[in-house]
Every structure is written in structure tokens, then in C-alpha cells.
């Protein structure tokens, strides 16, 4: 009897873990081996410690690597800026609508990724609702301005698709915070954080404006675009300062922010790494100049059958996520990862 009890949990997890071992672990090992192989699909691939695949992966597609890092980074930043107040609102001001709001956050998952991306293509298209408003009605942008086929469209698409992956871990982290801590902070004279908030906001806004101008290729680092770049940074800093001085309170800086950091970290990882491997957004919203690493992997695997190089690129993504998970588990413990002890 006691022996059977000892064995029982292992019997329960065995079938599922076996499936994952066969169709998750084994394929990844196979992929590592493939990434060190040489040959073509006709001659067959042979394992040969071909580390040059990794050298090639890092050096042959510099534009795609830069695109991935820049677009992925911007999307992560924007997801954070939209997702944090959103998760805060659901966690602290959601009240009895909390469950409904969370359900609406994951509602997009009940339609296909493709269909949602196509919806953005419809909205942001040259004859779409968005441009007809800002271009034709309001006249903010010039008449020949288009969004589809530009980095702006790709980053908008990525931000939209991965926003729930930012909101959910942030919500989990914020929800755990005891609201009495915030009340206690206020009772102890934690008031607004005017000067600090303004400075933080100004730096944040200026940085964001510069990152958007450069990252979305509306400016480059040359003398010609120096003036628009500086204007954008100034505008960003000014808006940031106003927003920061009104929105950031001392209670937030001292209590809520530090306690929500695990969620910020988890959310950023869950947005950044998958965006690096995304190819659907670029394919439907971008152009050949906006292609990312995901497009290279997809193309090498499914069109060119250049498996070793594609495997090397995929394994780099896999290694990045593994490192992130190990760091997270070391710093915050393993229970945090899958939602705590049942």
C-alpha cells in the first residue's frame, strides 16, 4: 500500500511527460544536432560539428537581426506602457467586473492569429478607417502617408498580438499585492510624487520618442533628421513630464512598483522572445525590408530546405528563452512560474 502511494504521482505524470519528452524534448535535441550538421536535403544531412552554421546565423542576416531586436523591443515597450495601467486597472479597480475583464483580455485568443492580423491590415490599409480619419478628416499626416508596408504597421501588429501576454503576468503580480499596504503608505503621508514623477516621465517620454522615431525609421542618425528627432524628443519629454507628475504617486513608487517587478519581467520575456520569431505580422503588414528573424527561419525551413542554418537560428531563440526561464526560476522560485501551489 505505502509503495503504491509513493508511485502514484509518478504514474499520473508519466503519460503526459512522455508525450512531451517524445515531441518536445527529442525534437529540440534533433534540432541542435541538425544545427551542427552540413549537407543539403538531396544529399542528406550529416552531423559534423558544423559550428559555422552559428557564425553564419549571426553574420549573414544582420538586417533581419536588427529588425527583430528593434521591432521586438519597441513592441515590448509599448505592450508594457499599455499593459501596466491596464493590469493595474483590472487588479485594483476591476471590482465585480474583474472576471469579465480578464475574459475579454483573452477573448482574442478565440479567433485565429491570422484573422486578427488581417483585421489590422483592413484597419490600417490605405483605404481603411484609421487613415481616412487621421489623413482625410483630421489632416494630421500628408496625403501620401501609408502605414501598411512600414515598420509602424509591423510594430502595431506585434504590440496588439502580444499585449495579453504582458497583461496576464502583470495582473497576477498586482493582484497578489495587499491593498492595505497602499493605504498604509498613504496614511504615512505617501502623497503625489510631483518632482520625481516629472523627471522620470520626461526621461521616459524622451527616450520613447527617440526610440519610436529611429526604430520606426522616421528618422536616422544623420544631420538631416537631427531637427525632427530633437523636436520629437522634446515633445515626448514634455508630455512624459506632465503625465508622470500626475500619474506616479509615492505609494506607487515605494510599494506597488517593486512588488510588481516579477510580473514586469515575466511579461517582457513572454512578449519579447516570441516577437523575435514572429513571421506572420511581417508577411501580412510589412514589406521585404521589414523582415525579421522569424521570416528567415520560416523561409529557410519551408521554402529553401536549408535545415542546418534554420535550425541554428531557431536554437538561438530556444536558448534565449531557456536562459530567461532559468534566471527567473533562480531569482523568484519555481512556483511563481505556473501559478503557485494548488
Amino acid at each position: 500500500m505505502t509503495r503504491r502511494r509513493w508511485l502514484l504521482p509518478y504514474l499520473l505524470i508519466a503519460p503526459g511527460l512522455l508525450w512531451l519528452a517524445l515531441f518536445f524534448v527529442l525534437p529540440n535535441i534533433q534540432m541542435v544536432l541538425m544545427s551542427l550538421s552540413s549537407g543539403t536535403i538531396r544529399s542528406g544531412f550529416e552531423f559534423s560539428w558544423a559550428f559555422e552554421n552559428y557564425v553564419e546565423a549571426f553574420t549573414r542576416f544582420p538586417d533581419n537581426v536588427v529588425n527583430s531586436l528593434v521591432f521586438g523591443g519597441l513592441a515590448t515597450l509599448l505592450c508594457f506602457l499599455i499593459g501596466y495601467p491596464m493590469a493595474y486597472g483590472i487588479a485594483f479597480r476591476g471590482g465585480r467586473y474583474k472576471t469579465l475583464l480578464l475574459f475579454l483580455v483573452i477573448a482574442p485568443f478565440f479567433t485565429s492569429f491570422l484573422i486578427r492580423t488581417i483585421s489590422w491590415r483592413i484597419i490600417l490599409g490605405d483605404q481603411g478607417v484609421f487613415l481616412s480619419l487621421v489623413r482625410d478628416t483630421l489632416g494630421i499626416v500628408p496625403p501620401n502617408f501609408s502605414i501598411i508596408g512600414t515598420p509602424l504597421a509591423v510594430v502595431s501588429g506585434l504590440t496588439y498580438q502580444y499585449l495579453p501576454f504582458m497583461v496576464l503576468p502583470l495582473y497576477v503580480a498586482l493582484e497578489k499585492i495587499d491593498y492595505r499596504l497602499i493605504e498604509a503608505a498613504r496614511d504615512l503621508y505617501a502623497g503625489p510624487w510631483r518632482r520625481g514623477g516629472a523627471i522620470t516621465g520626461a526621461f521616459g517620454g524622451g527616450f520613447l520618442a527617440a526610440a519610436l522615431m529611429l526604430g520606426l525609421r522616421y528618422a536616422s542618425l544623420d544631420a538631416e533628421s537631427l531637427v525632427p528627432l530633437l523636436l520629437a524628443v522634446a515633445a515626448g519629454a514634455a508630455i512624459g513630464a506632465v503625465v508622470g507628475s500626475f500619474l506616479i504617486s509615492e505609494a506607487f513608487v515605494r510599494v506597488i512598483w517593486p512588488l510588481s517587478l516579477p510580473g514586469v519581467f515575466a511579461g517582457s520575456i513572454l512578449v519579447f522572445i516570441p516577437t523575435l520569431g514572429d513571421y506572420v505580422n511581417v508577411e501580412l503588414l510589412g514589406n521585404p525590408q521589414t523582415q525579421m528573424i522569424g521570416n528567415v527561419i520560416q523561409n529557410r525551413f519551408l521554402q529553401q530546405n536549408d535545415y542546418p542554418l534554420a535550425a541554428a537560428l531557431s536554437f538561438i531563440l530556444m536558448a534565449a528563452i531557456l536562459v530567461a526561464i532559468i534566471v527567473y526560476a533562480r531569482v523568484l522560485g519555481t512556483e511563481e512560474l505556473t501559478g503557485g501551489r494548488g
Binding site: 499520473l12 505524470i13 503519460p15 503526459g16 511527460l17 515531441f23 518536445f24 529540440n28 534533433q30 534540432m31 499599455i82 486597472g89 483590472i90 485594483f92 479597480r93 476591476g94 475574459f103 475579454l104 483580455v105 482574442p108 485568443f109 478565440f110 479567433t111 485565429s112 491570422l114 484573422i115 486578427r116 488581417i118 483585421s119 483592413i122 484597419i123 490599409g125 483605404q127 496588439y160 495579453p164 498613504r186 503621508y189 502623497g191 503625489p192 500626475f246 504617486s249 522572445i273 520569431g277 514572429d278 513571421y279 522569424g294 527561419i297 525551413f301 519551408l302 534554420a310 535550425a311 531557431s314 531563440l317 530556444m318 528563452i321 526561464i325 519555481t334 512560474l337 505556473t338 494548488g342
Partner: protein, 314 residues
């Protein structure tokens, strides 16, 4: 806040700040949250709206005029119905297998403390955090590898050439972790004493599981089932890598983007979305009903226990 306080200097400061902070908390944050949630739903609204479109060309990307044509003839494109049937079939089988495997793991993780439990936790998280393209690419690499001996005989040639069976294998794989997370979330606060009571009354473990545990965790299992079903039916990236020439609905959509994009695609997508939302809503309502009933029984039990306790010393 502390405007009536006697501490003159800090009180004026906090009173003024308190008002803006209150405005932010009470109005700015909720309004922003509502706007952001709406933003998440915009593409779904566009999908529904454009299923009623009569586009000016072959591509349903620009609004023409309102039309019910696509709704009256939802399968009026060659291959569309077959692709949807394939998707439904794969989703159904993959979901059953993944739900069974994942529920067993969730049971083990929530009710037993065993060596390797926390490594299992981390291990289960990895497939969820892995980019889809890596999951698909690694499976493709392995499937192609089984085309060579000795793996060909070992797998019976089942995994290559690619087809519905390889899509199925992939969908079960990526769904298992989602089942575990969903089921174990619903098992939090599980009334263990009910199982103990059943055992005390002479039920063996098998009977206890089917008569007590299973009915209690059924809503969680159903929720996991629905989540997996829609993840599977909507999956594109992993399916593209593991499908070969087999066409599921998302693969059919992808193929049609280049030369012809009929409104039927949005009609079918709207139907799938509406079906999924309806089932999830029904399951949630049912869960609420059960919860309310349990709470009522619980409070009656507590009242009776309190009454008994008061009588006892007398």
C-alpha cells in the same frame, strides 16, 4: 484624506495631492483600462463586420457594401468545407488526448508532494514560453529525420510524410501545459475533506475519484477542453510546419491571402469564435451555479455545526 488633520504642513500637501490621486484612481485608470480592452476587441469587431461585406474586388480588405451573400453561402469556395472539417477533427481528437494527459499531471501536482515536483513545474512552463516557430521547426526537423532508417522502421513510417497525424501529435504536445495550468487553477481550494469523508465511509480510491473528485473538478476540465479546442482550431504557425500538404482552416486562409480572399473566411471565423465564446460562457455560468450551491450547503453546514457546538456544553 487628512485635510482635517492638525499637522498643518503635510496636510495641505497630501490633501491637494490626494485629490489628483483620487481622480487618477477613480477615473483615469478605469477609463484607460476600458479603452485598452476595447482596443483588444477591435479586430474581432472588424472580423464580424467584414463577414457582411460585399468587397469591390477579389480581396475582402476594403469595404464595399453590406451583403448577406457570404452568410447565405458560407462554404461557397472549393476546399473550404474540407479544410474546416479537417480542423474540427484534429482539434477534437487532440483536445481529448491533451485534456486526459494534462488532467492527470494536474492531479499529481496538486495532491501529492513528490520528489521532482518543482522541476516538473518548470518543465511544463517551457513549452508555453517557447516561441511557436521553434516548436514547429523542431518537430519538422524530427519528422523529416524519421524518413531515414532505422527511425523509419521504428516509427512505422507514421511521422513522415507529414499529414493530419503529425498535426495531431503537435497539437497534443502544445496543449498539455495549458490543460495543466487551467485544471490546477480550478483545483485551488479543493475541498479535500470530502474525499477523506468518502474514504472514511469505505469507498476505495477508485470509487472516491469517480464519485467525488471527478465531479468536483469537471468544470475545470471542461474549461481546459474548451481552451485547447480553440487553441488547436486556430493554430497556424505550428500547423504550417507540421502539415505537409494537409490543409486545415488557417492553412487554407493563409494560402488564399495571395490570390483571393473571400468574405466566407470571415463568416467561418465568426462562427468558430461565436461557438467558442458561447460554450465558454455556458461553462462559466454552470460553474457559478455549482459554486453558489456549494457555498449555500457550506453555510448551512457551518450553521448546524455552530448550533451543535452551542448545545454541546449545556
Amino acid at each position: 484624506m487628512s485635510s482635517g488633520s492638525e499637522l498643518a504642513v503635510p496636510s495641505t500637501r497630501t490633501a491637494r495631492g490626494g485629490r489628483t490621486m483620487q481622480t487618477v484612481e477613480r477615473w483615469v485608470v478605469p477609463l484607460f483600462t476600458a479603452a485598452a480592452v476595447f482596443y483588444l476587441l477591435v479586430p474581432i469587431l472588424v472580423m464580424i463586420a467584414y463577414s457582411f461585406n460585399d468587397p469591390p474586388g477579389r480581396f475582402n480588405f476594403v469595404w464595399g457594401k453590406f451583403s448577406l451573400a457570404a452568410w447565405l453561402n458560407p462554404f461557397g469556395r472549393p476546399g473550404l468545407q474540407e479544410a474546416l472539417v479537417t480542423s474540427l477533427g484534429i482539434a477534437f481528437i487532440a483536445t481529448i488526448v491533451a485534456t486526459a494527459l494534462g488532467t492527470l499531471i494536474a492531479l499529481a501536482l496538486t495532491r501529492y508532494d513528490f520528489r521532482g515536483r518543482s522541476s516538473t513545474n518548470v518543465f511544463l512552463f517551457i513549452p508555453m514560453a517557447t516561441p511557436e516557430i521553434v516548436l514547429g521547426a523542431s518537430l519538422l526537423t524530427m519528422f523529416v529525420g524519421t524518413a531515414q532508417e532505422p527511425f523509419k522502421t521504428l516509427t512505422g513510417g507514421l511521422l513522415f510524410p507529414l499529414g493530419a497525424q503529425t498535426i495531431l501529435v503537435a497539437h497534443v504536445m502544445f496543449n498539455i501545459s495549458f490543460v495543466v495550468v487551467t485544471v490546477r487553477a480550478r483545483m485551488q481550494g479543493f475541498p479535500r475533506h470530502l474525499e477523506e469523508a468518502a474514504m472514511d465511509l469505505g469507498a476505495n480510491e477508485w470509487t472516491t475519484f469517480w464519485k467525488v473528485t471527478f465531479p468536483l473538478i469537471l468544470p475545470g476540465i471542461l474549461a481546459a477542453f474548451l481552451l485547447c479546442f480553440s487553441l488547436s482550431i486556430d493554430d497556424f504557425v505550428i500547423t504550417q510546419f507540421t502539415s505537409g500538404t494537409e490543409q486545415t482552416f488557417p492553412i487554407w486562409v493563409w494560402a488564399s491571402i495571395r490570390n483571393n480572399f473571400p468574405p466566407q473566411i470571415h463568416v467561418i471565423s465568426t462562427m468558430v469564435f461565436a461557438g467558442a465564446i458561447l460554450l465558454v460562457a455556458l461553462n462559466t455560468l454552470n460553474e457559478r451555479r455549482v459554486e453558489r450551491r456549494d457555498r449555500r450547503i457550506g453555510s448551512e453546514e457551518a450553521a448546524r455545526a455552530a448550533a451543535a457546538h452551542q448545545e454541546a456544553p449545556a
